[in-house]
Symmetry: C2
């Protein structure tokens, strides 16, 4: 059969553009024993994919030019020659941006097709929820009444971080890129305060005002000048979780700013880079806790869902323009 896939046409220089992607028809071979034919249902678009588009060693191997992009996908089993998977089951895994694909079953995780929120497994009950959970709790170690600041606060990870911090009794301030997001964080996600960095000339002072007791934990999804401003406000013994640096992903070199080392020294503070995959052995614990909080109504959740396979490149690019609120997904009808 013929399927359609999205390959990396060229490596982005700076901000990714549509021309970096190419739609291609591809002939799928016939199904072999042990293999599955999958049809994509939900495709996750995530900022970290930008790193894989560079030809540079990172924590993930680079995409190859002319080969399909891949990411987290929830797919339906259309045909199975594997004893482990039956037709119509739902699976999640690292899969190519292809309408259909043929895979061995290895590394796939089954998703209950009766789950009313199948797509949550790509977000709050998946990578982004677990990133928030382990990053905040394991590195941040929030204590009741401490002050937490989250950048990228209206993004998939940030909004979960802020809510978990509230569950832990912290004072929570979010940084986001629009007044709508600020309103949402305060009114629907229980943040104590939030600031629209695009409308704030002096973020350092804004954070100082929103965090009168200083900042004990900074969960950083964005980096750059926003982080400089938060770091200038940290308390003694602060923990800074480096989860993402979306402001720099499209930079061609290292970004330059005030070195944080002097603050870390004066404040005996910790700064830790963090990948959720380091915690894979503890994923079940995290998923269980996140599910319980969701069921108990303690976690609110929001997705931005774009429709249609053709919208995948555009949905990905929109992440860097902050056009998503919460987890960004593409749904194929």
């Amino acid at each position: 059969m013929i399927t359609k896939q999205i390959v990396l046409a060229s490596r982005p220089i700076g901000m990714p553009v549509l021309a970096n992607f190419r739609f291609e028809n591809s002939e799928l071979p016939s199904l072999q024993d042990g293999q599955l034919l999958l049809k994509g249902l939900y495709y996750s678009v995530d900022p970290y994919l930008r790193g894989r588009m560079n030809d540079a060693k990172s924590y993930v191997t680079p995409f190859q030019v002319g080969k399909p992009i891949e990411g987290s996908v929830i797919a339906r089993v259309i045909e199975s020659k594997s004893g482990s998977f039956a037709k119509n089951e739902l699976v999640m895994g690292m899969l190519p941006w292809s309408r259909e694909c043929i895979v061995e079953g290895k590394g796939l995780q089954k998703i209950d097709p009766n789950d009313p929120h199948v797509s949550y497994h790509l977000g709050i009950l998946g990578m982004t929820g677990l990133t928030a959970y382990f990053g905040l709790l394991d590195i941040g170690k929030p204590k009741s009444a401490e002050t937490v600041v989250v950048s990228g606060a209206a993004g998939a990870v940030g909004m979960v971080v802020g809510q978990i911090a509230k569950i832990k009794g912290c004072h929570v301030t979010g940084i986001a890129g629009s007044d709508e997001k600020v309103k949402l964080l305060k009114e629907e996600f229980g943040f104590d305060g939030a600031v629209n960095y695009k409308q704030t000339a002096d973020i350092e002072t804004a954070i100082a005002e929103l965090c009168p007791d200083g900042v004990d934990i900074y969960f950083d999804n964005v980096g750059g000048e926003i982080s400089d401003a938060v770091i200038a406000n940290v308390n003694k013994g602060a923990r800074i979780i480096i989860c993402g640096e979306i402001s720099s992903y499209n930079e061609t070199g290292a970004t330059v700013g005030p070195r944080p080392q002097s603050v870390l020294l004066r404040k005996c503070a910790l700064m830790q880079g963090f990948l959720v995959s380091n915690y894979s052995a503890r994923f079940p614990e995290g998923i269980l806790q996140l599910s319980e909080w969701l069921k108990a109504g303690k976690l609110n959740y929001k997705e931005t869902i774009s429709k249609g396979f053709e919208s995948l490149p555009e949905a990905f690019i929109s992440l860097f323009e902050g056009r998503n609120t919460g987890k960004m997904l593409v749904e194929i009808e």
Copy 2:
């Protein structure tokens, strides 16, 4: 009686100069019950004192203009009206830069006057040795065959860090500021390699060549561009111990350079600011281990001793010019 003391005449702007210090005669009151009259024997000069000369909140309170500088001093009890201390005993504590002084006994630690190396208690068996010990072992957690880089390697802390790393089976590279220091590190302190940063145009490449397996632990005493170069070479899971930033102590604002966050994220690396005082409960453990290593000949030690009370300001200033090798002290005959 009249004694002589050194007061902060003015706060340094940038590099400290002799004019920031003033020698003053001071009348000591008569000794009260519970008090001791002390005469200074060894005065420790340490880079961190620079921070106290600024009028800025830091981890230690600022010195007051017109008041004596204070630091770690080993002194002899000249007269005692305290039941806890006898005449001629040696004590160590935070004391004013004054030839003689009157204190309550609180916070003083006794030093065995028969110790052949009394001054070591201001260095390898004191603050700087403990700084090396806890910073490297507790934050760095060196494993055998890992690669350790130390900046300020020929300083009081750096040379102990490198030697402990060798005891732990690591590959050790030092960064220092002269060919003599580089030679000393390699020939007398067992470093596997060392680089004179003043004679090296491309420190990043020099570190890469000296550390072919990358850098697992970076013990930073200096900050600035030297640190930028080391951080560019760190491995996955690296630990960066921020112990000192001597290159920036005389800067009037934050120094600017490549933000390390992207590297920390890509490498899941940790950067931790560190004060030895956080470990005060474990000082006995550290001193015992350092003493045993010294006795067993596993630790070599070097002091730069300046003679005479009058040389104190000059000795302090010389730290920022790298004129010391090992621990810098002033001895009063």
